[in-house]
Every structure is written in C-alpha cells, then in structure tokens.
Amino acid sequence: MKRLPLMRTAWRNVWRNKRRSAITIAALAVAAGSTVWFMGWGDGFTEKMAEDTVKSGMGHVVVEPKGFEKDPQISEYIDDPAPVVSLIEGTDGVETWAPRVEARGLATTPENSMGAVVFGVDPARERRASVFPNRIVEGSFFGYGDEEGVIIGHKMADVLGVELGDPVGVMVQSLDGEVRAEAYELVGIIRTGNPMFDNGFVILPIAAAQELIGYGSGYNKIAIIAESAGDASKIRDAINDRLPPDDLEALTWYEVSPQAYQFYQMMLVFMGFMLILLIVLASFGVTNTILMSVLERVHEFGVMAAVGLRPFQVFRLIFYEASVLSFIGVVVGLIAGGILTWINSIYGVDLGFWASGVQMTGLLDPVIFFALKPYAFVVTGIAVFFIGVVSSIYPGIKAARFRPVEAMRHV
C-alpha cells in the first residue's frame, strides 16, 4: 500500500477548529512549560542548597569523630589532627580544608544572654572554605595575623544590643566539665540571610576556642572543599579507607545535613505531586477535546470507511492529529517555560517570606536562581508529547469503531 496522505489530512483537520486546537495546544503547553519551570526550580534549588550547605562551613566532606553529628559531645574531638590533615592533603580531588571547633554555649552581655553555637575557625583557611568571611557587614573577619576578638550575626548583635568594640561574653562547658567564660571584643558582624547563623552563631578564632574549651591543638571537625562537588563521595570513600577504624569518619555534606536533604526530598515529592496533577489535567483536557472533535466528525469517518479506509487507518489519522497538537503544544510550552525559567535564572525567586522553611534548608540567602538545563527540556518534551499522543488512543479507538452506516447517518 502506498503512503496515504493521512498526515496531511491530520494537519488540515487540526486547523479546522482553531479554537479547540488552541485549547488543546494550550493545555499541553501549560503542562510542558510548568514542568520545565518546576524542573528549573528544583535543579536551581538543589544546586544552591548543595552550594550553600557547603559554603556555610560544612564543606563537601567533613571528617569528625564517629557519631558527632547526631550527638555532639564536648568530649568527642580529634585530639591529634596532624596525621588526619596529612591524609586529607594526600587525597585526590581535595582543594583545601579548614578546621572547626564547635560547641554549644551562651553569648552574654551584662544585661543579656542567649544560646549560641560557638564556632572556632582558622581565619586564614576559612577565607577559602566558607562564605562567612564574605558576609561581614561591619568590621572585619578578624585581622590578618592578630586573630583576636569575636564575630556574631547581626540579629544577635541587635538582641544583645552590642556594637563593634563592645565586649561579648562567651560561655561554654569545657572539656573538664566546668563552665568557662571569656569576654572578647566584637570585631565583626555577619549577615547571611539565614537566621540560624544570623541569630545563633558566635565565631571565634580557633586558638581562642581551643583554649576556652580545653582542646589544646585538637579540632571537632575538619571540613574539606573538593575541587568538584561531584567528587564528594569519592573523597569520602578514599579518606574512610585510610582513617583509623572505630574512631573518625568522613561524611559527605548531604549525610551531615539530613534536614536539608529531607527538605529537598519533601520539595521533590511536592513537585512530583503537582506535576502529576498537571499532567492528569492536561491529558484529561486533551482526551476531551480530541473526543469532541471525533464526535463532531462522525459522518466523515463514515465516508472514509466507505471509501475503504481500515479502522486502524482511521485510528492513525486521529493519532497523527494528536501528534501535531502535541508537538506544537510541546514546542510552545518549552519556549514559554524556557523563557520564564531563564528570567528566574537571572532574577531568581525570593523565598524570604518563608523564613522557617529557609532556615530548615540551611540556605544562606533565600533567593533561588533557577537552573536552565537541556535535559529538563528533553525529558519534558518527550514526556508531554507522549502524554498528548496517549490521550488520543481512546478517541482514536472510538473513531475507528464507528459503524460506517451509523456514521454516515450522522450529519
């Protein structure tokens, strides 16, 4: 059998009822466009979360005493970091590392006090390992050389009512079980956009923190920055292979920060749900409009049957019509969704209104820049096209099943 002009016929049929075709195309375009947009948001969000988690002191990989993350005991620390450091420096893919001392404590002034995480850092190393040095809004990130003083978040400074130069008391439980307090001069104020830091962090030079707690030259953690984020698990494994067992362990950032990961997965479930809803709606709409167009042309299918078109050829005609509609819908949707995503990849979306959620994710500033990734377009294009043509199966079967004479009587 020669090739029938079914495709040409389908193409013309599509343009017969422009309004209805426009509705079908719009339904598919909305599905495709929002899917791309959602995926751009999801990818942008993940990227930012990974980046921010890493930048907010976690590093790509962290080496710490086993179980420290779940139950940070003051007694758990790396008392002899030198061999660990040389192990880290000898691992492929490591760009840099930075030591940490972390303890729960209080920040105090004569009038006020509030709970805080005391965060001891090596100022020189920190400049390459986290974003905090860049988030100083007043003062400096300690000096170069004379590493003294304390840095707190801008909200904490407000609550405590302190300004640069004022003394801030820091109180912790030390290694020997006693409560120790020391006053430091406020040398810097940071603002990250995340209340967890802006309202709860006290940053000390690591030597001061070590002395206060009584760690000597020990650290609680060593954060590792990888040359490439994708290498995190490789680096973790390489280090774990050579670490003394039962003592220390290396973890990737997403293992350390399960809340962020859980939040991300929650977002994924939510987005998945939205998309399924959208897709069900779209396919319902497409099925409906195609069915309507089939029911309007019953007579014509009778003529086709009389001329000798096989039922399957009638089915194919409807299938081609759906293909044309789906193709146009997908193209329109991808372009529109792409433009929106592109705009959001430049201007971002501010989640500032949703502080509790933001805090949970550990994001530094609550602005998400969407990711514009080719795979999202490919996956979405194929999926929505597929949905469009699948939606034509039922109407197509219906058209193929019309009994010619009944169809002919239909005007």
């Binding site: 002009p5 013309r12 001329v307 039922p311």
Partner: protein, 239 residues
Amino acid sequence: MTFGDVDMETVVKTENLHKVYSDGLEVEALKGVNLDIERGDFMTIAGPSGSGKTTLLNLIGGLDVPTEGHVFVEGRDLSKMRKSELADLRRTRLGFVFQSFNLIPVLTALENVEFALTLRGVEAGERRDKAVEILKRVGLDEGMINRRPTDLSGGQQQRVAVARAIVGEPALVLADEPTANLDTENALGLLDMMARLNEERGVTFLFSTHDPRVMDRAKRRVTLRDGTVVSDERVSRES
C-alpha cells in the same frame, strides 16, 4: 456458465435479507430480499421513500450488517469478514456515491479523488493524471479541482463523489440517489459516462433512485415496496 453464453457471473447475491432497526421504534426496513446482481448490470432500485433502498445498498456495501440473511460479494459472505477485510473489499472492489456529504472536507476535490487512488496503491504521478482526467470527464471545471468541498456547489460535490467512486474502476458502484442534486445536463453527462464505463469496462452499477432520467438508462429495474422486491424487470434495448 456455459460455453458461448454471455458472462452472467454473479457479483452480488443477497439471501433472505432482513433488516430491523430497533433504536427507539422497531422498523423492519427489509423483509427478506433475494437479489442476484450480475456482472455488467446497470440497474436501478426504485420505490417510495422509506421502502428500504438505502438500507439495501448499505447492506450490500458492507456498511451495515443484516439482522438476518446473507450478502455475498463476488462469492464472499460479508458476515464472515472482519472490519478491516470489509474495508479492503470496499477499497478494492466497490465504489460509493451517497446522496450528500460525500467528501472529506479538508481535502480538495482533486485530493479527494486522489485519496481513493492512494488507497488503491496507485503511484503518485499516475494518480494525479488519472484524478485530473476523471474530474474532467465528470464535468468539473478545471478551476474547481483545487477547491475544498465547502467551496463547491452540491452538484459539483456530487460529481467529485462520482469521480472518486469510479476512478479506481471498481467491480461494483453503489450509488444512492446520485443525481438528486444535479441539473439535467449534468445528470445526463454523468449517466453517459457511467454507461460508458459499464459498456467498455464491464463495471456493474446499482443506483437507488426516483429519477426518471436514471431509470430511463437502466438495463434492469428493481422496485422495492415496504422492504420487499415487488418487481424486477430487464429492459432489452438495442445499441
């Protein structure tokens, strides 16, 4: 079939054909029709409105199924054929002309005729020439062939439908009141052409009609009344 006889091979045979429509009121449209249509027949089925002409044509063409009885087309029992086989039969052996709404609206006159040829597997180049020629022969003006049905008059549409039905030179053409929308000149022109196809190529024609212009040309006239055949006469004529 004896040696020396005229070829009186049966193209269509109906056996005790009954059709009851039962959507809503029960109507027995055909009440046992037995009819043999021979190859080369040029015949009309006449009868008052509602006598069952359209019903009979539809059953013969396999467009509908009888309530009782059988239709054989070239010896094959339609009731034993699947839908796609019926479609194949219609495509290869039959041509249809209906009273109205005959054409595929999104295709031009030429494309409608070509469509039938494509279905029969005719090559593109030959297809176009054949379609153009047949449209000329049914009297459609050159300028009309690229119009869509909605831009043609009823008579013009009818001519395109006839062209489409006969272009593939089917064994049997079933035409339901084909001249109803035509003026005398066009009606006679169409009939001439169909008569010529009948004479030269042996194509069998079955018309349902009230039109005396068609009845005049018939070689055989069947009359239906109330779903039964009340007369079946062969017209002998010289020529």
